[in-house]
């Protein structure tokens, strides 16, 4: 009976993983569909969608906008968020409680409220909505995630390394740029990747603050009513393959290294 129970756990979680994968596989498979107008029924295999992605109207331009928005907001949010993370771990200052609350609240607020709030503010100030307002919005919600990610890294930093730098007569500036910053890079990169992913895939906040500007998720949302072109699946699948390749290299590389270490030790 106990053996069966163990077996059940594996099957159950395997099924949960399969459940997660179904729509991903579906999206990728239908990027190869010879769809012509609506990409709902399978009409046969083709590479045409992949070879001529920009064939469908607005797919490529909205994708370009998404890359631009995600790139700029990632740079802004990572810079501001990293600075806050350093301050939180390294320094004592007044209003610490208020600061942590201010950083926590955007993550605990539903996106629709963040989006409507900013949109209400832009409306009252008479600001024209467009790519700039999308970037403003994305930078805002990414900052907190950057702080959380980088802060974890700063907190586990070995202070002895910096002390060694100081003992060797490095100036505070040198210690920071030659010792601290390089040690923080993995955390900063992780934070930047997270921001990029969050911004790139954001729809709800974007929809409230986009005006006429199109991002890729907005394109998909508006196209959903009349049928998504297969080219949209191509873009999504392409992004997926690139991202998963990066993650696989990082994850599997790390795992192989650990496994080797375990065998040697």
């Amino acid at each position: 009976m106990r053996g069966f129970g163990k077996y059940l756990l594996w099957v159950y979680s395997g099924m949960a993983l399969v459940f997660l994968m179904i729509p991903i596989v579906y999206t990728i498979v239908f990027s190869f569909n010879d769809a012509r107008r609506t990409n709902i029924v399978w009409r046969g295999f083709t590479f045409d969608n992949w070879l001529d992605v920009c064939n469908a109207q607005d797919v490529c331009s909205s994708f370009g906008n998404s890359l631009l928005v995600a790139g700029v907001s990632t740079v802004l949010a990572t810079a501001m968020g990293t600075a806050i993370a350093l301050a939180l771990v390294r320094y004592r200052f007044r209003f610490r409680e208020a600061t942590t609350l201010l950083l926590f609240l955007p993550m605990a607020t539903p996106e629709v409220v963040l989006g409507a709030g900013l949109a209400a503010q832009f409306l009252q100030l008479g600001v024209q909505k467009g790519l700039v307002t999308i970037i403003i919005a994305h930078t805002m919600f990414c900052i907190s995630f950057v702080v959380v990610t980088v802060r974890a890294r700063v907190a586990v930093l070995d202070g002895a390394l910096e002390e060694a730098g100081r003992d060797l007569y490095a100036s505070p500036n040198q210690v920071f740029w030659r010792v601290t910053f390089p040690l923080l890079i993995p955390g900063i990169v992780a934070a930047a990747l997270l921001s990029f992913a969050l911004s790139f895939d954001d729809f709800i906040i974007t929809n409230f603050n986009a005006g006429p500007a199109m991002t890729f998720p907005r394109f998909v949302y508006t196209a959903a009513a009349r049928g998504i072109p297969a080219e949209a699946n191509v873009i999504a699948s392409g992004v997926f393959f690139c991202a998963i390749l990066l993650v696989l290299i990082a994850q599997v590389g790390g795992a192989i290294k650990r496994q080797r270490l375990a065998q040697v030790g």
């Binding site: 999206t27 029924v41 600075a83 301050a87 996106e111 709030g117 895939d201 991202a243």
Partner: protein
Amino acid sequence: MAFGAFQSSAPGGSVAAAAPQVQRKSPVALWLLLPGILYLILFFVTPLFSLVLTSFQESVPGGFIGEYQTAFRFENYVEVVSTYFTHIGRSFVYASLATVFALLLGYPLAYVIGVKLRAYPLWQALALVLLIAPFFISFLLRTLAWKQIFSDEGFVVGALKTMQLIPADAYLTGTPFSVVFGLTYMFLPFMALPIYATLEKLDLRYVEAGGDLYANPVTVFRKVTFPLSIPGVISGTLLTFIPATGDYINASRDFLGSTDTAMMGNVIEANFLVLQNFPAAAALSLILMMSILILVSIYVRRSGTDDLL
């Protein structure tokens, strides 16, 4: 890993375990904090005040649609609550159901990846990649994939009808079932990742000790493993419940919902972007935010952890 954010947002995570670092007082702190904090005040705090201001506005007498002036019209709140009472209730019911289902699916999955696969680092890494894979492909397209799988001509409905599990005129899309299903799917990784993060750090000697003391596996799980994973469960449930309550993709007519499944998010979107009834949208947004904050603080208080960031 990019989604390390969930690990450290788990209370009592690696942050608490780190060696204490000396905290100094210095004007540098101010310069580090200033840009980001100012930014959040400008684009997070003041928008909330704009929202409050907007929620009390009244329409300009004889003005166009979408024209409002500053006022103190509390009736806006009374009106939206009485008009959208069902939508408000529906949001919380759907989100709670999705949270429970995501926990039921996500916990065992996180347990297998974090504990059972520990002896096989390569498989563990691969399973983890699969768990975060959904983040890399447009969530709108994934939701649409379910819509097409569940469509009337689709394979699932056909099979269920052939097996006579559902009547011949039944349908799945546009029902509460498909909306809760979609929400569960969408937030499963958000549930499983923080739980994985705490279970991955679980010291297996505690579990062994439980077994040595003649506790059966169920008791060990109930008294040792689960209590130690509660920080992850809290982060996971919050990361699922909060966005699920405000979600309007799954419940949208073009995705898995219909007008009968519209949630608060749909109503806020419709009022703001289509009907241009900004005060109603603002009032609803604030009601949504306040109810979530109240529910979350009760939940966090009761589970005994205040330290969330």
